[in-house]
């Protein structure tokens, strides 16, 4: 479910989530994860509500939200594509993927103007022997080349039938 930031139910949603997690020790992170899962982001309006619910200052809550890379204050695109830029993937050509993203007119860390995709960098997805690694909406992809990345960005990657050791021709995916 995605709700506009001005939607009056943000407060209700946040209060409900806070109530469900209140008995946990150190509940703020689980609550923020739940808010983001529910609303697609952590809206600014959630901050005072959480401060009230957890008896913290607004600055405390804001400080936590802004510290962690995962929490976004605006909704992401239709797809979120995260490219690993850590060393093991660098050694396998992750730099080419980042370059390709630029050539596609996309900016790392931003959502495409048409809202179709958000491209982000990430440091290690735990797939360092099968890099370059890319994650799309929580799903891990290994040995991604620029063709595959193109399909992932366009949402046209059907299956991973190409698998390991495929030649670039075999892994050529249809373009939208």
């Amino acid at each position: 479910m995605k709700i506009r930031t001005s939607d009056p139910t943000v407060e209700q949603v946040v209060r409900k989530i806070a109530a469900a997690h209140r008995e946990q020790r150190g509940a703020l992170l689980p609550i923020l994860h739940a808010v983001q899962a529910e609303l697609g982001h952590v809206p600014k309006e959630a901050v005072p509500v959480l401060a009230d619910e957890l008896n913290l200052s607004r600055a405390d809550v804001h400080g936590v939200v802004s510290f962690y890379h995962d929490f976004r204050d605006e909704p992401a695109g239709h797809r979120t594509v995260r490219i690993c830029r850590a060393e093991a993937c660098q050694a396998q050509g992750a730099g080419y993927l980042v370059e390709y993203v630029r050539q596609m007119g996309l900016t790392m860390g931003r959502t495409a103007e048409d809202g179709s995709v958000t491209v982000e960098q990430v440091f290690c997805l735990g797939n360092c022997a099968l890099g370059p690694a890319v994650e799309v909406d929580g799903r891990l992809h290994g040995r991604v080349d620029t063709e595959r990345l193109g399909a992932l960005l366009h949402g046209t990657d059907q299956t991973r039938r190409d698998g390991v050791g495929a030649t670039p021709d075999e892994s050529e995916a249809p373009r939208s």
């Binding site: 150190g26 936590v64 510290f67 995962d70 093991a88 050694a91 039938r161």
Partner: protein, 529 residues
């Protein structure tokens, strides 16, 4: 397809490890199931963890009277031909690898912590028991807490998360603390590039970790445990949560564990994308619902940890090794390894490597054996130029150092670190000035910001390296970089700022030419474009 109606239930194994899935294991499993269904052949498809031979994934195994026969790497398109060639009987095919347990890569290893990973269905509790699960916990529950701690101490087991602190000594500190409320925290943040053993263990043998944490709880008198898993590992989170639910149903967790007076329950907490939260005090802050700011030590977490209470903080591999130590005895474990590095280490081969994956073997093996013999050199086929060992804060070593034995002290003496056992290989197209710059950039991005040498020094580090490469007052800037590295090493509160100079200085020491800015742009652009 050969049909054997007299032979019901051929058992086929396909991994569900996320690395295997990342190259199509789910699609292979689905294709096999469909083909079997439409041919009316009864198969039992078991989804295991990964054996850790990642270049062979998706690796399909079939149970035969000659053991489990492997085929790989398999694509869905290969499935019809494989079935036609007699996959279900373990017959010949170009992708056939033979009995998996006998593959030299695997047979030469000493799988202790990883003994069950890739072998069993990770969420099948009965399979866990059949393969020796809970033996360690049952043994521990018959011993006094002090005796369990003594056993762990005698095994020589040191923390596998990086610093290598003896686990038994940490546990004894917590045991000796008074008070009712104590915690066991498992550090599953595994943020280092080139490391994936924690993930594979959680996805491939989650009950082992639960067992290890429960033994720790008995040993120190804790009743509550937290497993802090990074958000980049959604499959590990799901597997651990499912395993904890099963363990509770079975009475392996909760009140009176296995019918004994021990009460212990376990909770999964998910990180939120911050490398520094792998540092133990930062992880505790994060578990408390705060920013992951590093705490000054003392007090150490063993005395004042989570919510100010005595807390064991151990890595996944440390806690995952404890059940084996208890099951097989301290002596058996202690006999493996060299000097003060006892037992086995789970090495992780990644980067530009032909045969990447998990190599569990006794300490003392050399880097050369790991990279050349196990790893088979680079995947690109070009010469190996360097390997970074121990994650983003570890040194870049040249091939002339590859005969160093894997041993905490030997590595420290050589100005390097074993860390979490990650080895990232690069071929000769790597630009080492770019790698050094990246080390500083990573530190700037991931610093918790508490101390100036790390927060500001790393930003300055990037600028200075840029100037050196651009040829601006090179000698002055090289001296400045050296000063900066010294300041970060000496003045940082934790190892984030304190160790970032390690990759930078090692790159400079061994690959100084790359900093001259004259490297042909076309050959050395790969890493960090």
């Amino acid at each position: 397809m050969t049909q054997h109606p007299a032979q019901p239930h051929v058992r086929i194994y396909v991994p569900r490890d996320s690395a295997a899935r990342s190259v199509g294991a789910d699609e292979v499993a689905a294709t096999i199931q469909q083909a079997a269904d439409s041919a009316d052949v009864a198969i039992e498809l078991v989804r295991t963890g990964s054996r850790g031979m990642l270049w062979l994934e998706p690796l399909v195994e079939v149970a035969t009277e000659h053991g489990r026969i492997g085929y790989g790497p398999v694509t869905p398109d290969d499935v019809p031909a494989l079935l036609a060639a007699g996959l279900l009987e373990g017959d010949e095919h170009p992708l056939r690898l033979g009995p998996v347990d006998e593959l030299p890569w695997l047979a030469r290893q000493n799988r202790v912590t990883f003994a069950r990973v890739g072998v069993i269905d990770p969420l099948d509790a009965d399979d866990y028991l059949r393969h020796g699960g809970l033996t360690g916990l049952r043994t521990a529950l018959k011993l006094t807490p002090a005796d369990v701690v003594a056993e762990v101490t005698d095994s020589g087991l040191r923390g596998r998360g990086g610093a290598g602190f003896p686990a038994g000594i940490k546990w004894k500190t917590v045991l000796d603390c008074p008070g009712e409320l104590k915690f066991i925290c498992c550090n599953a943040d595994e943020g280092d590039s080139g490391t994936f053993a924690d993930r594979m263990l959680m996805e491939g043998d989650p009950f082992l970790l639960i067992e290890g944490m429960t033994i720790a709880a008995h040993a120190v008198g804790a009743r509550e445990g937290y497993l802090y898993i990074r958000s980049e590992y959604p499959d590990a989170v799901a597997t651990m949560r499912a395993a904890i639910d099963i363990a509770r149903e079975r009475g392996w967790l909760g009140t009176s564990v296995l019918g004994t007076p021990l009460d212990f329950d376990l909770h999964v907490r998910v990180g939120a994308g911050a490398y520094i939260c792998g540092e133990e005090t930062s992880m505790l802050e994060s578990l408390e619902g705060k920013r992951g700011m590093v705490r000054a030590k003392p007090p150490i977490p063993a005395i004042e940890g989570l919510f100010g209470k005595p807390t064991v903080v151990n890595n996944v591999l440390t806690l995952g090794t404890v059940p084996v130590v208890l099951a097989q005895g301290a002596k058996a474990y202690q006999e493996l390894g060299v000097e003060r590095s006892r037992g086995t280490q789970v090495f992780q081969l990644g980067g530009n490597i032909a045969r990447g994956g998990i190599v569990e073997t006794a300490f003392g093996i050399t880097l050369r054996e790991l990279i050349e013999e196990y790893g088979g050199g680079t995947r690109s086929g070009r010469p190996v130029r360097t390997a970074q060992v121990g994650g983003p804060l570890g040194a870049y070593l040249p091939p002339s150092s590859f005969d160093l034995p894997m041993d905490y002290e030997a590595f420290a003496a050589a100005g390097a670190m074993v860390g979490h056992g990650g080895i990232v290989v690069f071929d000769d197209t790597v630009d080492m000035a770019a790698q050094a710059r990246f080390a500083m950039e990573f530190c700037a991005a991931e610093s918790c910001g508490k101390c100036t040498p790390c927060r500001v020094g790393s930003v300055r580090g990037v600028e200075v390296i840029d100037k050196i490469v651009a040829g601006e007052q090179r000698d002055e800037n090289l001296a400045l970089l050296d000063d900066l590295c010294e300041l970060m090493t000496e003045g940082s509160l934790c190892a984030m700022g304190g160790l970032t100079p390690l990759p930078v200085r090692s790159a400079l020491a061994h690959f100084a030419d790359d900093f001259l800015g004259e490297v042909a742009a076309d050959t050395r652009t790969k890493g960090t474009a």
